[in-house]
Amino acid sequence: MGTTASQLGKDLLSEYQELTFLTKQEILLAHKRFSELLTKDEKDVPNVRVPMERILTLPELKSNPFRKRICLVFSTSEHKDGSLTFEDFLDLLSAFSDSATMEIKSHYAFRIFDFDDDGTLDCDDLQQLVNCLTGETEDTRLTQDEMRQLISNILEESDIDKDGTVNLSEFQHVISRSPDFISSFKIVL
């Protein structure tokens, strides 16, 4: 850190500011934190891609139950390995920022919760979602009966077309009734 090569130019900065919901300060902070993840040789490489394991060392993501899903959703790599470039990282922070709209946040929340990436939240996705939020070990999970009851409650609440899955519009509809969502779906560096 400290070399001129890793500082962000003014025009690039304003372009990023145009394209994301982040302020100039936030972009510069993101740049600084991203550069801290790079090794010495990587600092001079353009469009460098940081593997997921290193991204997950960030304190803001380390304890998040959805950290792996977040990396996978925002990664633009062809191998779907969760590695992020700086622009992917900015995309991530933009979606999780204060000023992002409800549509953006619910769109990305849907993609994060969609564990099998098939475009709908079916029973398996919902089960994995609940397990993510309640605990990973055997004794902290809900029992099979409770899980089944919970999933049927969830589907009863949100599955409007009664097809057994929750698609994006049903998800957005149920999310819009929860004003806490927009303030809790936030990651700030």
């Binding site: 690039l12 994301t20 380390k62 139950p65 549509e103 409770e146 409650n153 303030s183 809790s184 990651i187």
Partner: protein, 534 residues
Amino acid sequence: MWPPNTESRLSKQYNDCLQLHRFNKLTWIGGKFGTSVQSYFVFLKWLLMFNVFSFLVNFGFITIPQLVYDFSPNVPNTTSFRGLEILTGAGYFNYTVMYYGSYSNETLEGAVDYKMQLGYFFTIAVYMVLCGIALIFSMASSFKANYVLADTTSGGAWQLLCSWDFSMTNERAVRQRKNNLRVQLKESLSEKAQRKQLTSSEKLRHFGIYLGAWLLSSSLTVGCGASIFFLCRYEQLHMSDTGGWSPHQEAETLLVPFMVSLMNMVVPLFFSLFNKFEHYSSQRRQIYVLVARNVLLRMCILGVLCYYWMNVVATEYSCWESVVGQALYRLVFVDFIFLLLGSFFGEFLSNVVGTRLLPRLGIPEFDVARNVLEIIYAQTLAWIGIYFSPLLPAIQILKFFILFYIKKVSLMQNCQPPRRTGRAAQMKTIFTALLFFPFFLGALAIVGYTAWSLTPSKHCGPFRGLDINVRARLRIVSFITQSLDFKMLFFILQEGKDKSFLLEKLQNLQKSQPNIRSKNHKKVGIPSLLARFS
């Protein structure tokens, strides 16, 4: 693309700013304890700003002219400064610029002719109006952001799942949150199962208990109000009107504030007890009912005190505004002591008991609703007191400042995050609405009624000797309108009209131009968009 050769001075400057921003303690609190606890501290800071503004305005426009005009307070020889004044606000303080009574009613000659009556009236009026506007704006903006208040699926599973706080970074807090969420999910499952099995006789029983609890809490509230009134009467019978109180008598003036604060601390515990016996369909309704009962209790006590001041003190004391000012000072001070004690007992001792003596109880939670209500009440006292004691905001600033740090330390040492997650956004709307509707409007009504309808005292204060009747009020209004520089106002309004016309033109111009990089494209993501334009 890392641009190699352009060094940006901007980024170096920003880096220095960011260092300060990173170590923002409030964000750290939000990360560990959740957004609802963070919102308490943000709210406290916001109220502190109100008081700073009030103090600056009062000191600048009311006290400084008075001090310049007449520097030394005209204290009679019998009273000197004893330490007791800090507690009771009477005695030596009575003759200083602390209270209404020490302000003159003349036009102060000097570099400018300063009409004290006008200055006093306008400063307080403008401050209250600005406060009201700030509160309305804040309420409107938070209501707009969180407009969904009617929750048809309250406690539903989706609400619980989607209220996961992504900004939590502390490992232990996350684990605790997961535990709490699991417990809540299980509770909501069992509640839903149970709801289907309620028979009509059970429903009747629940309703009966609910009604009984309301009756009990109302009678407790009315009883508290009545006892405060009789206590005030008792105190009045034992006090002389003019000064020259013995230290014993001065200490007796602390009896009423002590009882008020004691009731405000103890009676809500009874309300929580009643709450345990009642059966509620949702957690949220339970909290609302508890908050409503606490608010009614505090408003009843404040109402009784104001009634006593307006009807009894105003007619039977000579410099009654100062007397009311002193009573409010005492209330504020004793309330502060009780807040500290409450923090000590509620948080520190509970922690000690919960960890060492009775591990079953566990670490205490930080009760956001109770703490917010306490600071709203404290702020109401300050708002009522501004008219009678212009420098009361100074005490309030100290109080809130010390409270902020004590609560922060107590939170970090003694408490765990609240078990019930979420609802932070709605709570902020509700806090602001609570602040505005009963408490601010009540304070405004009291001050307005005092300024407009009550006869000011004859021998002290800026409005001394003014007789309040219809002709006198009309005279006051005409006096005010004559003094206002209407030409200046007209000029300012015209300027404003021109500027808004220009702004409208600019906006229309902007709308007519096509904007390629509109923010709607952000859904697509940066890489694809940059690819389109590179």
